[in-house]
Every structure is written in C-alpha cells, then in structure tokens.
C-alpha cells in the first residue's frame, strides 16, 4: 500500500454545484425506511411518535454540522483521506475498510427490504435473487456512469417523487385529530427510544463524507445539506402525523408498511389501489440509495487500496445478491433491520463526534507545534 493523497484534486468537469447536495442527501435519506417506520417508532413513543421524529431530525442536523466542521479542517478530502491523515496507514485503512463494509451492508439491507415489499405486495412467486439482480443491474448501470450520472439520478428521483407527498391529502379525509392528544404523554426515555428507532429511516446523510471532494462551492455545503435534511424531516413528520391520525394505535402496531397501507384508500376515476403503483414507483426512490452506497464502497477500493474502481462495481454488487437469497422470512428481515440499525446508529450518529474530536485535537496539536517552531 503506497501513501495515499489526503486531498483530492478533482477535475472541474466532475465537480457538482453545492445546490445538488439538497437533492443528494434527501434522496439518500428517503428509501425503504419510509415505507414502514411508523410501527417501530409508535411502539416506543406511542402517539407522541411525531416528537421522536422531530428529535431525530434535529439530531441529524447536529451530526451534519459536526461532519461539515470535520471536513472543513481539510481543503478537499473525503472520509478515507481523513482516516489516513488521523489514524495513519494501517488503523486508518482498517477504519476505512469497516466503513466500506457498512456501506455494502446498507446496500444489502435496502435491496432485501425492497425485495420483501415486492414479494409481499406484488409478486409472491417472484424469486428474491431475481428482483435483487434487476436492482443491482440498475445500480451498476448508474455507478459505472460516474458521479455525475449518480447525482443526476438523485436529482430526478427527488423531482419525480415530490408529488407523492400530495397523496397524503387522501387519508386526511378520514383523520381523527384527537388521537394526537394528549401531547407529551410519553416520557423523555420513550421519546428518546423512539428517536433511536428512527435511525434506520433517517440515515443516509453520511454520504456527505464521500461526496465532499466533488462539491464546487464548499462554503455553501452546510446551507444546502441542512435544507435537504430539513425537507426530509418535513416529509417524515407529515407522514408520521397523518399515520397517527389515520390509524388507530392497535392498527398501527400491526401494520408493517403503514405508508403503503395509507396509499390503499387513494382512488382516482381511472386508478385505485394506489399502493401497487407506489410500490413500483419506489424503485426510483431507492435507486439513488443503492447507487450512492455502492459508489461509496467502490470509491474506497481506489482511494484506500489503490485498485481500479470499475471492476469492483460489478464484484461488490453481484456479491450482495448471494446473502439476499439466504434471508427468507419476515422475522429474519426484521432482526436484520434491527441489527443494521444498531450499527448505523454507531456509525452515523456517534462516530462523527469521535472523528471530530480526534481531528480537532490533531489539528490544534499541529498548530501548536508549528507555532513553537516559528
């Protein structure tokens, strides 16, 4: 392993404007989690679940702040560069490899969850490996096109799915607003517990660590990233509140994909049972997630291990199909989601603080040393 460059010099045709961060972060955050996060959070926080959503949203913005701060210590780097700089070649390499594994795990979890939805709602007989293969092919096609294609997909994914929030108007017709009352019945522990349960749904903004070197106007990073997170929070809050007023508590506890169930009552003169359309349309929502996580992992191969990226796009993504076949039942998926959420909580919500502290210490130490030498 030769020494890697900490700062990347990106060619201008690869750079993307900071504004697109809004679309990138929002599209990576929204994914399979949104289909059924209500039940999990409701179990912990009861009808105050929306407060938990709010807490986790605010928390995510704080983490984002820390991430931007960490990145701003450097000129133009990604997480792999920071790892190398702070922890050195071997430990830094190990951390980077673990992060890559996390990205691949996320990639796998997204596929597995979507496959389950497809099987449960649309085609019970369709083989899991086949659905996974089609998704993987799409992800490969995106990632092999380079960062601009990937970001473009994020952009259009947000643009084309923005209308779906309007569908919430239909269930509101049947809303019982009293079910939100009394506010703050749950105690702080329950609310925090609920916020923790949001992890699986709200993660995704950690890709900022990797997309950072490609951003043109670094000073606007925070503004647009925060806006993206705020929009995500708005979507989650509206879905949560509508679910709370539409379903009764007992229903919500037994509904695995509450968002999809919400779509059931939507009917137009020419189309009803809207969830069939929504589920298939969800492919456009999860493709940016798949592409982004795959890209992050593959990026590590070239940054940390100095390998040619292209071939690993195929290796990594095709490798993921194998475990998809082994996870069979609903229980397995649930356990796996819980396990992933635990890891993600550590990686996304705790690790940035540690990294920030270490980077900060190293920076001040260096500064002091430099001053002394003068």
């Amino acid at each position: 392993m030769t020494a890697m460059k900490i700062n990347l010099a990106e060619r201008p045709q690869h750079s993307i404007s900071a504004l697109l961060l809004f679309f990138i972060l929002h599209s990576v955050q929204v994914g399979v989690g949104l289909q059924g996060f209500q039940r999990i959070v409701f179990k912990s926080a009861g009808h105050d679940a929306w407060i938990s959503v709010l807490i986790s949203g605010i928390w995510s913005v704080i983490v984002l702040l820390i991430m931007v701060k960490t990145l701003s210590f450097y000129e133009n780097t990604d997480l792999y560069g920071i790892h190398f700089d702070v922890f050195g070649k071997w430990i830094g390499g190990l951390f980077s490899a673990l992060y890559m594994l996390y990205c691949l795990f996320a990639f796998f979890i997204i596929i597995r969850n979507y496959v389950e939805v497809i099987q449960a709602w649309l085609f019970p007989q369709l083989d899991a490996w086949f659905v996974a293969l089609t998704l993987v092919v799409m992800a490969i096609y995106t990632v092999s096109g380079g960062i601009r294609v990937l970001v473009g997909l994020c952009f259009f994914s947000v643009l084309f799915s923005a209308w779906m929030i309007l569908l919430l108007i239909f269930p509101i017709e049947y809303a019982d607003w009293r079910s939100l009352l009394p506010v703050m019945e749950a105690n702080i522990t329950h609310l925090m517990r609920g916020a923790y349960d949001m992890t699986f749904t709200i993660i995704g903004f950690e890709v900022l660590y990797f997309i950072n070197p490609y951003i043109k106007e670094k000073e606007k990073t925070l503004k647009f990233s925060a806006l993206g997170l705020a929009y995500t929070l708005f979507v989650y809050l509206s879905v949560m509140i509508v679910s709370l007023v539409y379903f009764s508590g007992a229903q919500l506890e037994n509904t695995i994909w509450a968002t999809l169930t919400l779509f059931k009552i939507i009917h137009f003169p020419f189309v009803e049972r809207f969830e069939y359309l929504a589920i298939t349309f969800w492919m456009l929502i999860i493709l940016p997630n798949l592409g982004m996580y795959l890209w992050c992992a593959v990026r590590g191969m070239s940054r940390v291990f100095h390998r040619n990226e292209k071939s690993y796009i195929y290796w990594f993504s095709l490798l993921i199909i194998i475990p998809v076949c082994f996870v069979k039942t609903r229980n397995d998926v649930n356990t796996l989601n819980g396990f992933f959420a635990k890891i993600a909580f550590g990686v996304v919500f705790c690790y940035p603080f540690l990294l920030f502290a270490v980077t900060w210490i190293k920076k001040t130490y260096k500064e002091r040393k430099r001053r002394k030498s003068i």
Binding site: L122, Y141, V149, L284
Partner: protein
C-alpha cells in the same frame, strides 16, 4: 488535401501516371486528361481555333457561360500567349495553373480548361452550373406561421439562405472535404463572437478524424460524429428549416451542412430541444408553453400507455376501478390472446401501416389509411382479435408519437414502446418501472458534444428553464442557453428589474 496524400501512398502505380508539370504539346495534354478521367463519356475536348484546346466535363458546366464568355471571344482569333487569352476572356474567375492535379480537381468542380499548344500551363475558367432544384416549402417540418422555405440540395444556396437571415461578418463558414471518393464539401457554420471555440474545434476534429470513402447525406455524418452512436436517442438535430438553423446559431450552436444534402445538422443538442419547434417562437407564449407541455405529455403517454394496459390487465387488475374494469373485461372476453400478445400484435399492425404509408406515393397512401383504420381496425375487433379499448389506446399513443416536432425522436418513441410492453407483460408495473429507470439512467449517461444530454434540467441551470418545457415571453429570454457554452451569454441587456 491529405486524403490525396493517402491515395498516393496506396497506389504507387498511379503516381507514375501523374506527371509533375504540364506537357507542352496538345496531344500529350489530351491524352493525359483522357487517361485521368478513364475516357469518361462526358469529358468534352474541343479545338476551337488552331492551337487552342478547350476541356470540360459537360454536365458540370453552364453551357451559356461557356458559349458567351469563352467560346465567342476566342472565335477566329489568333492567340499567341496565355496572357493574351487571359485578357480576352470575360469570365470573372480565371486561374493560371501549373499543377496538373489541381487542374483535374477544378475540372471536377465545374471549371473549363483552356490549353494553348506549346505552353506548359493552362487557364482554368470557373464556369460551374449548380445542379439543383428550386426552393420549396418544408415538408417534414411544416409550420403554419414562419418561413416557408426549406433547404435544398445545393450547398451554396443553403449558405446563402443562412447569410440572408444573419447578415453579419461574425457568420463563420469553414469548409472541409470529407470522403476520399466522394470528396463531399462540408460546411461548418457558426457565429464567431458567440459559439464556443472549444466546441467548434471539437466538431472540426471529429470530422477530420473520419476516414470514410463517401459521405452522401448529413444523417450519416451525424451518426459518425455523435458522442454515442450506439444510443437510440439522436444527439444532434436534423432540420430542413433555415430559420431554425439561424435562430440556433444565435444561441451559440454549430451547424453542419453538406453539399447534396437538404438537411442541416445542429450541435450540441440536448434532449429538450427535440420537443421545441421553431414555431413556438412565432406564437404567443401561453400557447407555445401549452404546446410544449402537450408534446412532452404525449411522449410519456405514447411510451407508457399501452404497457400500462398490459400490466394492469395481466397482473394488477385491482388498480382499475370497478366502472372501468367491467367494460374492459367485456371487451376482452372474446379475445383469445394474453394482453401482451394482443398489444404487440396491434402495435406491429400500426407500425406496418405507418411504414407502408411512408413508402407509398401520396395518392395510394390515402388508401392505406382506409385499409388500416376501417378494415383492419373494425374487422379485428369484430373478429375478436383485440378489444376495442386497446384499439383506442393504441391509436391515441400512435397519434401522440407523431406530435414530436422531430421525426427522429418520433421514431425513438415508437420503438421504445416495444421493450416496455414486453417488460410489462413479464413483470407488470415492476417491469414498466425497470424500463423507466433504465431510460432515465441511460439519458443521464448521454452527452451531446460533451454537453449533458438532459441540460438544462440536469445539471440544473434555472435561468435556462425559461425556454425549456415552458416558454417565457420573449423579453425574458435575454440569455443564451448555457448548454452551448456561449462566449457571450446575453442576447440583449435584461430589462430593468430583471437580474
């Protein structure tokens, strides 16, 4: 020029035949040109007066000019030197030429060669006749309001039409020769102060890199110099309208015209411009916006309507409301085929009708409409081969595909339907969505001359959205699109209160 060098290298025997300088004697000159043109039947060799030989290729020259300005002045005169001959001729463009190769070239371009016995040089008088037809109205891109003249097959006429619309010295016209057999003249036209120099160089480089033998028409060139020739989507627009080319030149685009082709090629060309018609600029902005939205809507409808029918009836009949499902079921009850087969069958029938209509003369073409519409349509339903609701959907989506102002894109839309119908037949809505995502990613991957294909939407350039799927009133369109990377971004200074 360098094509010639290539030929020389290929055939050393030919080099022996060619000679470095002109032979002085009359017989030698005649035999040299006979040999060069392989005794072509249209090569005319005349001895007008004692010593003076005149040579030309008969179909290429203007007989009247030859008679009045060359033959009559020299008749019955004794000419001793080329200088004397030069002063007698009243043709505007006369060259004194020593190089035999260049003489052959000018003969091919419609010059008349005059040789005085005993002189190792010749005079070449330019007497070309343009083989062309008169200007006619645009057939493919007809418009209600707007210029009623289309390009024809003569390059100089076409350039003249453009020069007439843009009378400016910044109008640049570079000529290249393509094809070592056809030696087609290709003109690259752009506006000096506006078009990006980088793009112009790229176009020229791509054309110069070509080593083909013949280039007869512009679409072939388009395919050869496009970023991705394998994609189904065209990356440059073909147009027969001079006004469209002129207005796009002012937007910073580059046009390529080829002698003998009645279509100009415009580069770079993002996808959205295939939905724009020149007429949009000539009608009120509200109507133009409505028409653009209609065209894009009909493209989406055209690609996905029939596949939606297939998916809904094969797998997801739950999505259809009861009042719609019952008549659908009734009309399908007699159909012996699965929906996907039924739809493919009818789609192919429509394509058959279209193709047959395109090949037939106009008068017979009308019969095709009757055969297709009444005989096949009605009979197919009555025989129970298809449901009549499907006929309606297919007819609508065929109609919708013809709203595309670009013939090229209309074809793409019609062809894209087939894979999506098959996907819908295999995996229902999931299949349709796979097709949709694939097309989206594919479009994201394309570029036209290095410019992203989905500009100005991605990468987002909000200021250019004013003239994309919507059209703002003309006073707001003060900016040239970023997609062409213009040197000068503003068409005119924005009015007060505008950024």
């Amino acid at each position: 020029m360098f094509f010639k060098k290539g030929i020389k290298k290929q055939g050393p025997s030919e080099k022996e035949k060619t000679i470095e300088s002109f032979p002085a004697s009359k017989e030698e000159v005649i035999s040299f040109f006979r040999q060069q043109f392989h005794s072509a039947a249209d090569l005319v060799i005349k001895e007008v007066c004692p010593h003076l030989t005149v040579l030309y290729l008969e179909p290429l020259i203007d007989g009247q000019i030859l008679r009045e300005q060359i033959l009559q002045p020299v008749q019955n005169k004794k000419i001793h030197s080329l200088e004397e001959l030069y002063s007698i001729l009243s043709v505007g463009d006369v060259n004194n030429e020593k190089d035999p190769e260049k003489a052959v070239e000018s003969l091919l371009n419609g010059s008349t060669l005059l040789h005085l016995d005993g002189t190792p040089r010749v005079l070449l008088a330019s007497t070309p006749q343009s083989i062309t037809r008169s200007l006619s109205t645009p057939e493919l891109e007809s418009q209600v309001i707007g210029m009623q003249v289309a390009f024809n097959e003569c390059l100089s006429t076409n350039i003249g039409l453009l020069r007439k619309l843009i009378s400016s010295t910044s109008f640049c016209h570079d000529q290249l020769v393509i094809g070592h057999q056809s030696k087609s003249r290709a003109s690259i036209v752009y506006l000096k102060e506006i078009a990006s120099e980088e793009l112009v160089t790229t176009v020229k480089e791509r054309i110069q890199k070509l080593s083909i033998d013949a280039l007869i028409d512009t679409p072939v060139l388009a395919e050869l110099i496009e970023d991705n020739s394998l994609s189904i989507f065209p990356q440059s627009i073909l147009t027969e309208r001079p006004d469209r080319v002129a207005s796009q030149l002012t937007n910073g685009k580059i046009a390529i015209l080829i002698d003998g082709s009645s279509h100009a090629l415009l580069l770079p060309n993002p996808l959205i411009e295939f939905f724009q018609s020149k007429e949009d600029q000539n009608i009120r902005w509200q109507i133009a916006t409505f028409l653009r939205l209609l065209r894009i809507g009909s493209m989406v409808f055209s690609i996905f309507a029939t596949s939606f029918y297939v998916a809904a009836l094969t797998y997801h009949y739950e999505v259809l409301p009861q009042p719609l499902l019952v008549p659908l079921g009734e009309s399908r009850s007699r159909v012996p085929f699965p929906p996907v087969f039924e739809t493919l069958l009818l789609e192919i029938v429509i394509e058959l009708l279209r193709e047959a209509g395109a090949r037939l003369p106009t008068k017979v073409g009308q019969t095709m409409g009757i055969v297709g519409g009444i005989v096949i349509g009605t009979a197919a339903v009555e025989a129970g081969f298809t449901s009549n609701i499907l006929i309606i959907i297919i007819a609508l989506s065929a109609l919708a595909s013809f709203t595309s102002p670009s013939y090229m894109l209309g074809n793409v839309i019609r062809l894209l339907r087939f894979p999506i119908i098959i996907l819908a037949g295999l995996w229902g809505f999931y299949g349709i969505m796979l097709g949709f995502c694939f097309i989206l990613i594919h479009l994201l991957r394309q570029s036209t001359l290095g410019v992203p294909y989905l500009a100005p939407f991605y990468p987002p350039r909000y200021k250019d959205w004013k003239d994309s799927i919507i059209r703002f009133p003309a006073q707001f369109l003060y900016k040239r699109p970023d997609a062409t990377r213009p040197q000068d971004s503003y068409k005119f200074p924005p009015s007060d209160g505008e950024g």
